[in-house]
Amino acid sequence: MSGQRTHGARRRAGAALESKSREVGVLAEQADASLLEIVDHVLNKGVVIQGEVVLGVASVDLVYVRLSAVLCAADRVLGNGAGKRNKVR
């Protein structure tokens, strides 16, 4: 867990996200098919840098979780059926 980001930085990040979603709303309203496709591909796809959740209480950020460090497909880590089962048809 990283404690590097300050509370202020996270609040700014939150506000930045809100304004991004407004920008997209404005864009999408008048977008033709070509632009909608671009929006979907470059804004919804591609490699993403963050993968985190911030948990808080009473508007105070307390816990930062990088779930990608925790969750993974079991068969990738343990092997298919943890070696118990072979390919079944």
Binding site: E23, V42, L43, K45, V47, I49
Partner: protein
Amino acid sequence: MKLLVYAIARSAPRGKLGVGVQREALAVRAHGGLVSIVGKVASSPRITEESLYAHDRIVRRIAARTSAALPMRFGSTVVDESALERFVEERRGEFVQALSKVRGCEQFTLRVFVDASRALERPTLCTDGPGARYLRARAESHFPPEIAQLRALLAPLVKDERAEAHDVPPLVASVYHLVPRASRAAYRALYARGVQELASARVALSGPWPTYAFAESA
């Protein structure tokens, strides 16, 4: 200043990189077997028609000039060089795997539209219990049965396939195909044939795209 990241690749793209979304100079950073293509910017790019198209253009240019590249999502930034290093190191294994998958390939995107309210009852094996039927239905919500024939027709040319269900009628799903560049013409020809056979669905094909939908491991 921060770094805007455009793509992760196996090797530096050939030729001139051009400029980024904010007309900043693009640069290549080496990460021992991987490279990132970045631009130094003062602030995150605003989302405008121009900037989104620019991002796609830049990603296409990179993809055209290197053997394999993973497009980054628009506006991906890291605070500095060491953050960039950490980002690449943390996901190195995943990137290497994804890069070998998308090597030499591009993406076609199919949007699937179905007008009629879809029949919930589908012929099932009488040996299937309710659990199996449920799981099968969930699987089909991602890959709509209306395009099963079309997908089967295209399958020999499709290296990998991903799908997303939508619940905004008539849009029911998006299907993403990873297709070797060498098969582009053949894919288009097969698609043109197969789309005529569609009975209860409309499909809109777009592409070729850089491999946006195959950049993240799923």
